[in-house]
């Protein structure tokens, strides 16, 4: 072993790496919010009695869950060029991750809604609550409990998946690391440091989610 560890370039680049980590978080949070919202709609779509929303939702879910994420990113970055649509790296990555998250969360939501028995709905309606009041006060709060931990896992998964954004030219945490690596050739040091940053982010998100979940769901169990 004659490889000399040299950490100084890493420390020098740390501010940039931290900035890139923030970009990673930003991309992940935005993708998560969009993905969750669309996922909720898709879960309604899949249970719709109408053919068109049901079919479109099913196609979305199937494609999102059964094709590689990298392929999805490439599709939005390069694939749309055929149709004259050119998305920036940032928009393409957010779109792809939202697309993917929506597909996974739609299935999670569907399971969540199925877990709430129909009798809850009847009890609520029998009290004079409207459909929307029933959703808001009875159904959604219970669905949130069921989907909360799968949702947390998906969020961490999105953070890690966003590293593929590098391949579409996005200078998020991995992209930035690769940039410094190519300038300094301190490959091991940079990738080790970045691995630690990813690890810390994932752990912090997990702990924050646990604490938050414990605080909001401390009461009754479903």
């Amino acid at each position: 072993m004659d490889y000399q560890f040299l950490w100084r370039p890493v420390f020098k680049a740390l501010p940039e790496l931290v900035d890139a980590a923030f970009l990673t978080m930003q991309v992940s949070i935005i993708s998560m919010i969009i993905g969750l919202s669309i996922g909720l709609l898709l879960s309604f779509g899949r249970r719709s009695k109408y053919f068109i929303p049901r079919t479109l939702s099913t196609i979305w879910v199937e494609l999102a869950r059964n094709t590689p994420v990298l392929f999805q990113i490439f599709f939005f970055y390069w694939g749309l060029g055929e149709f004259g649509i050119f998305l920036s790296s940032y928009v393409a990555v957010v779109t792809a991750l939202s697309f993917n998250t929506a597909g996974y969360m739609a299935e999670t939501f569907r399971g969540g809604f199925n877990a709430i028995s129909n009798t809850q709905l009847q009890a609520s309606r029998s009290l004079g609550m409207s459909f929307l009041q029933t959703q808001r006060y009875i159904i959604i709060p219970q669905v949130l409990r069921v989907v909360y931990y799968p949702m947390t896992n998906q969020f961490i998964w999105v953070i890690l998946m966003s590293s593929l954004g590098m391949l579409a030219g996005l200078r998020e945490l991995t992209g930035e690391t690769q940039y410094f690596n190519s300038r300094t050739f301190r490959t091991f040091e940079f990738f080790a440091a970045t691995a630690v940053i990813y690890y810390i982010i994932a752990k912090l998100v997990m702990i924050a989610a646990r604490l938050l979940g414990w605080k909001i769901f401390k009461g009754g169990k479903t």
Partner: protein, 240 residues
């Protein structure tokens, strides 16, 4: 007054109610008995519009339930319902379970709603469980919670769909006692039940359902002690 005129109800091809006529006067307690599948629950669900009907008409205090123009959410405030499954809302405390509808449906303030809820929970004998979640209550307590939740809307009518049949035998009594108390307070009630003792002692009239029809109806004691219909005789022989 609740009035059902020749109502017909099917699920797809399955005809479940085949011309039901019933009148329930104010302050009356009507028990409904009959074999499984005879349409007892379905009839209750039709009365508060949870299930649509295909023929005939149902009116509650003159308001036609099966009229498209009727505001069912408003009508349902008048008609409390207690189900076989204890469907308390698991994510809310006992107090919140009861206070929710008065607050969001009637628009009462949080405090007013809580006051009513506490009063109703005490009324059904679980006034010491305000901050407890349903998962920590026994089946009997959950069923009383469901009764309190319905009562908090100050309904004029109460529908009970086999409120005790999912309970352990030792918990049945406390729920029946609560229902007895309501009856003695003058609540108008339609009670679908397998408890013949309750039907005989508490209700004014008993209706026997057979295959989607009212096979026999009359004063509780008459119907139960000298049944005319052969089906009812067989049914009573089986449950006794």
């Amino acid at each position: 007054m609740i009035e059902l005129k020749n109502i017909h109800k099917s699920f797809g091809d399955l005809k479940v109610l085949k011309g039901i006529d019933l009148k329930v006067k104010n302050k009356e307690v009507l028990s409904v008995i009959g074999a499984s599948g005879s349409g007892k629950s379905t009839m209750l669900y039709c009365i508060n519009g949870l299930e649509p009907i295909q023929g005939g008409s149902i009116s509650v205090d003159g308001v036609v339930v099966n009229d498209k123009a009727t505001d069912l959410n408003k009508l349902r405030q008048k008609i409390g319902m207690v189900f076989q499954q204890w469907n308390s809302f698991p994510h809310l405390t006992a107090l919140e379970n009861v206070a929710l509808a008065p607050r969001v449906v009637k628009g009462l303030s949080k405090n007013e709603a809580k006051e009513i809820a506490a009063k109703q929970l005490a009324h059904v004998g679980i006034g010491d469980k305000l901050d407890v979640y349903p998962s920590a209550l026994s089946g009997g307590q959950q069923q009383r919670l469901a009764i309190a939740r319905a009562l908090a809307m100050e309904p004029k009518y109460m529908l009970f769909d086999e409120a005790t049949s999912a309970l352990d035998p030792e918990l049945v009594g406390e729920v029946l006692d609560t229902m007895r108390m309501l009856a003695s307070e003058g609540m108008t009630m339609i009670v679908v039940t397998h408890e013949m003792g309750f039907a005989r002692d508490v209700s004014d009239r008993v209706a026997f359902f057979h295959e989607g029809r009212v096979e026999e109806i009359g004063p509780a004691k008459t119907v139960l002690s000298s049944p005319k219909s052969e089906y009812l005789q067989k049914f009573l022989a089986k449950v006794h």
